[in-house]
């Protein structure tokens, strides 16, 4: 009798544990999902800052047109990769934070493309003759 009672108690405890685990799993999933989105946001921030930094360096004559263009093109490709990873499916895009991040990455792609175009079409000359891309930088700054 004692053994049966103790077995029943063990089963109850096991059921309770399973129930709590099942309830907590979505939260863990959400936590790791938000951690992943945070990582993507950090990468995008880094790529945005890279684009600003390299175009400022180009304007000041500190880097060549070749290097600036290559770095921006590479940043563009990396932003595309981040965009694909942020919301690969329609279901992911339905998540508001992911959707906002996806919009940010789309905007950043366009802004980097515009920077590349400006650098390529500007008559570069020497550093002192290169235009400052302040209007491009203003649009590329992070949204609060």
């Amino acid at each position: 009798m004692l053994a049966v009672t103790s077995m029943a108690q063990r089963l109850k405890h096991a059921a309770a544990l399973i129930g709590v685990t099942v309830m907590l799993l979505p939260l863990v999933g959400c936590a790791s999902e938000s951690a992943t989105l945070k990582e993507h946001a950090q990468k995008l921030r880094s790529l945005r800052a890279t684009a600003v930094s390299v175009s400022e360096a180009w304007s000041a004559g500190d880097v060549s047109e070749t290097f600036a263009r290559l770095t921006l093109e590479q940043a563009f490709e990396l932003v595309q990769k981040e965009r694909a990873a942020i919301a690969p499916t329609a279901q992911d895009l339905a998540n508001p934070p992911a959707a906002a991040l996806a919009r940010d990455s789309d905007d950043l792609e366009r802004q980097i493309a515009a920077l590349v175009r400006r650098i390529e079409t500007t008559n570069a000359g020497t550093g002192s003759n290169r235009p400052r891309l302040t209007d491009a930088h203003a649009s590329i700054q992070e949204r609060p």
Partner: protein, 404 residues
């Protein structure tokens, strides 16, 4: 006089040959993500490397055997086949990463996409190995590598605040991403204490015919050279911390890392960074390839030596050629060299216990080191390194997956 010249050359070439793809990428990432907080990791790894290098030099000078030969004789092939095979795989990946790093350096200078440079760089490495003797390889690469002192110049010119810099030499908990922090600390260790360096250095003392009366040269070169070399690595971290971190630029690519030189070197920044990266990676690739020849010849008992005519040591020459070809093929697959570097350094940590443990035995065996056995401090450090190595070997792969 000759010993003094050897010492100066040894220290200078140790400084010039210290940084390569692994140390540049890990230090740049550490600086851009955690500011000065990982300086302690570079300092600790450098001291460990200096101790292991000194021991490997002492072992080979006294026993007239390289590490690979001593391990084969002392432990037998059944033990050695495990670390040997693991080291071969890791050295292949690291060699491919170094070739890739050199190719990216050329891309930064020319604008031509980096995969086009893989085969020419691989061929140039082979030409150096084919035509140059040990002295030219060792001292030539080391002297050219002094360009990496530009990282130290940059760090100095940026005037880091001592009050914020010095606490970085004490391990502390990061404010964010502790898993990533731990991964980078372990990667810095793997990038600094590369197993190939130990056998390469020990083979070098035999190539240079260093004798017991010159053991003080070995000791001084190991400690001074490695410690000054570690300062170059710290230069990378500090520059990255001051320039990239405030802008939230993560050094996820060499192009992003190159931006660290802009505030100090202006129009010379990219050329200087690319040259430092290129020479560092090229030099490491030459050493890795040559070491593959050394290890093969020493383990299987073939003739070997960079100062020997290549005909007289045909199997040794074939070994380094085959490894170089294989690594070039891996590099041609197109993996991102920086990612490949981080994978290689993480795998280095996995096999570290198998590298350090034989030292513990050999450095206490009078048959190999005679009266120059490790003292209590040396043995304690080796024992601690073995235990630490075992712990890190277990956690590094989960860290790579979660924080890499």
């Amino acid at each position: 006089m000759s010993a003094i010249v050897d010492l100066v050359l040894g220290v200078v070439t140790s400084i010039g040959g210290f940084v390569e793809a692994g140390s540049i990428s890990t230090a740049a990432q550490a600086g851009s993500e955690f500011s000065y907080q990982l300086l302690w990791a570079i300092a600790a790894a450098t001291v460990m490397l200096a101790m292991l290098i000194e021991m490997s030099g002492r072992l080979s000078v006294v026993s007239r055997r390289s590490i690979a030969a001593a391990v084969r004789e002392r432990f037998g092939i059944r033990f050695q086949i495990v670390p040997l095979s693991a080291e071969l795989v890791i050295d292949l990946l690291l060699l491919a990463a170094e070739i890739g790093g050199a190719a990216i350096a050329v891309k930064l200078l020319t604008g031509i996409h980096w995969p086009w440079w893989i085969v020419p760089i691989g061929f140039m490495i082979w030409l150096v190995l084919w035509y140059c003797g040990f002295g030219v390889i060792e001292y030539g690469i080391g002297l050219l590598g002094l360009i990496t002192l530009s990282f130290v110049v940059s760090a100095y010119a940026l005037h880091p605040e001592p009050s914020t810099l010095l606490p970085g030499f004490v391990p502390s908990m990061p404010e964010h991403d502790s898993v990533r922090y731990a991964f980078l600390a372990v990667s810095i260790l793997g990038a600094t204490v590369s197993p190939y360096l130990l056998n390469f250095y020990s083979s070098g003392t035999i190539e240079e015919q260093m004798r017991e009366p010159e053991l003080w040269v070995n000791r001084t070169t190991a400690y001074l050279g490695m410690c000054f070399g570690g300062v170059v690595s710290m230069g990378v971290l500090v520059t990255s911390a001051i320039v990239l971190a405030p802008q939230h630029i993560l050094a996820d690519s060499y192009e992003q890392a190159a931006l660290m030189f802009v505030p100090v070197f202006h129009q010379w920044s990219v050329a200087l960074f690319a040259t430092a990266l290129g020479i560092g990676c090229f030099g490491a690739a030459v050493e890795l390839s040559l070491n593959a020849g050394y290890v093969g010849a020493q383990v299987f008992g073939w003739s070997w030596g960079a100062n020997r005519p290549r005909r007289d040591a045909a199997r040794f020459s074939a070994a380094f050629t085959l490894v170089l070809v294989a690594a070039t093929c891996i590099a041609l697959i197109g993996f991102d060299p920086l990612r490949l570097t981080l994978i290689s350094v993480a795998l280095t940590v996995v096999i570290m216990p198998l590298i350090v443990l034989p030292f513990l035995v050999l450095m206490n065996d009078p048959k190999y080191v005679a009266q120059h056995r490790s003292g209590a401090i040396g043995n304690t450090v080796l024992a601690l390194l073995t235990v630490l190595g075992c712990v890190l070997a277990v956690i590094v792969i989960p860290l790579e997956i979660l924080g890499g």
